[in-house]
């Protein structure tokens, strides 16, 4: 297994930098997820690691050596594509054997290796089938087996689970994680689904408009997002726009647009008079009155409840009619009825204040 290093990577198409200033080091055996909305440059970055796209500037190192001059086939990488890209004219067995044969592995060793891969993805019975006869999930597994058959140094995955339905997707996420951990193979996984990223990643790289916004473990990104974009993109959050009144020792006093005054933790530099947006996660909100509560309160009106099994989501409107989401444990005490006026309470520690992005 090898580490992957991206140094000052840049890709320019016509007059636009689709990827700029990407610096990243991925350790051996790590599963890193490139996360971001469509067009953020994550797929282009992945393809530069693969060698399918030539960087305009910067270097890609695999295992410490620069591979920029090497064509994809010489980089010893495996790749799973968004549309699986299984070879339709070959049965499953031949698809998996493809990489081995192209590397001139001795005939005697190809067979057992393919069998081992089939066992890994639990599809021994399908060895002779053609891709057209397989379901989406099955094709996905074959694509994975094909990519891993020749023991590459790095595994690249380009939104491979996008076309699967929810249940299958979650199953496959677990499958991918299991296989990755058992082989301890360095993996770069691209997705726009933050849920998927949280489940799979050792570390998440959030990208936006061609740049890296933040790198961190799922916990770090969730609890300490460095920008409003990340707070919003990773996990759900409530946005409360307002104006900063005073700021001292990292605590900001904010007058919200809905007329309430709250205290929040400053995320980054905030000065009095700035237009700001405060965020609070739905599960950090409680419905008051709460005994001995000294934190922030917001008067809200209850609208709808959604029972999700382990939790209950409450859609509420604040004083100016903006919708907010409160998430309570299923075992929570009574849930207010629609139309009730209640108090939403939360603590200063859970509330982040960001300067408003330039309008």
């Amino acid at each position: 297994m090898s580490s992957v290093s991206l140094e000052r990577l840049r890709k320019r198409y016509r007059d636009v930098d689709v990827v700029s200033d990407v610096d990243l080091h991925i350790a051996e055996g790590e599963l890193v997820v490139l996360l971001g909305p469509s067009g953020c440059g994550k797929t282009t970055t992945l393809r530069m690691i693969a060698g399918l796209v030539q960087p305009t500037a910067g270097h890609v190192r695999i295992g410490g050596e620069a591979v920029d001059h090497l064509p994809p086939r010489s980089r010893n990488i495996g790749m799973v594509f968004q549309d699986y890209a299984l070879f339709p004219n070959m049965p499953v067995r031949e698809n998996i054997a493809f990489g081995l044969e192209e590397r001139w592995v001795a005939q005697e060793r190809v067979g057992p290796r393919v069998d081992a891969m089939l066992a890994l993805i639990r599809m021994q019975a399908f060895a002779g089938r053609y891709p057209a006869e397989l379901s989406g999930g099955q094709q996905q597994r074959v694509a994975l087996a094909r990519a891993l058959a020749y023991e590459p140094r790095v595994l690249l995955m380009d939104e491979p689970l996008g076309a699967l339905d929810q249940r299958l997707r979650e199953d496959m996420q677990r499958e991918v994680a299991r296989i990755q951990k058992s082989l301890a193979i360095t993996t770069v996984f691209v997705t726009h689904d933050q849920q998927e990223a949280m489940v799979l990643a050792d570390r998440i790289v959030v990208m936006n408009a061609g740049r890296i916004e933040q790198v961190g473990t799922p916990e770090q990104l969730y609890a300490a997002p460095q920008s409003l974009f990340i707070a919003d993109f990773v996990g759900r959050t409530n946005r409360m726009p307002g104006e900063a009144r005073e700021c001292s020792n990292g605590v900001v006093r904010v007058m919200l647009r809905n007329g309430c005054e709250i205290s929040a933790k400053a995320a980054g530099a905030v000065r009095a008079g700035d237009a700001v947006v405060c965020t609070i996660r739905p599960e950090k909100l409680r419905i008051g009155p709460v005994e001995g509560h000294r934190g922030n309160t917001l008067p809200v009106t209850m609208r709808r409840r959604s029972f999700l099994g382990s939790s209950v989501d409450l859609a509420v409107d604040d004083a100016v009619g903006a919708e907010m989401l409160v998430r309570l444990a299923a075992s929570a005490a009574e849930v207010p009825a629609s139309g009730d006026h209640v108090l939403a309470v939360f603590s200063l520690d859970d509330c982040l204040c960001f300067r408003s992005p330039a309008a």
Binding site: L52, P71, Y84, P88, F98
Partner: protein, 294 residues
Amino acid sequence: MLSVTGRVIPPAHRAYDAALLLAFIGSALLFLVPQFFFIRQSLLANIAPGIVGDTMSLDNYRTIIADSFYLGVFLRTIVLSAVSVAFGLLLAFPTAYLLARIGSRLVRWLIVLLLISSFVSVVVKVLGLTLLLGTDGPVVRVLRALSLGFWDVRLLHNDASVAIGLVQYTLPLMVMILFGVIQNVPASLEEAAIVHGASDWRAFRRVLLPMLWPGTLAAALISFNMNMGAFTSAVLLGGGRVLTVPIMIQRKIILETDYPNAAALSLLLTLTVILVNIAALKLRPHAVMSARGG
């Protein structure tokens, strides 16, 4: 309301059936009637130029088949057509690949150029070729200058020039067909092959070519059929030295006014084409594959 096959069909289909019937009747008359009389002609004897006998027999056919001269001409026609198809494919592949994969706005104009080239009748292209390859044309003059032609280079009036003319005739169509076929093969398949270790050539041979094969066969057959029936290039570029079946047919009509034998030759030519097409079907793989699995 039941149909011939016993399925229940909604009333709308009657309109479509009527459309088909109309088209079928018109086409059947057009396709079959002249051919019927034509076949009949070939069974009659040619008594004198323009005069035709009354009794039907297969004599015309027997004469042709028994004559090794005719067989030689047939062979030559088939070989010329096949060789032209081969060269055409060799040129059409990279061109169609470029058009399909390059993904820039240039493609539109490249296709426009291709369409212009097929719009302009083959006679014009042959005219250009005649001037280009003629004994005082630029190519010969360049060759002479390079002393490659200190013997008298004749670029025209031989099999090669006819083959070139045939390729001119069919190349644009082949490119267009292959262009459509290649577009239907996702680029990710080629990328997958390359990432997994295949060289460009191996990726082509093991992945791309098998997927392109049915389309390539179709393009090859269409071009072959066109070549077998073409005589413009053969007459003008062959200069009387290259004899193909279409030329023979033309001569029988224009010079000898021998309709029955011309008809017989024509039918044998058509039969040959049909036989080659049927034989080529054997080359078609049985598995029907879609580029996107499932």
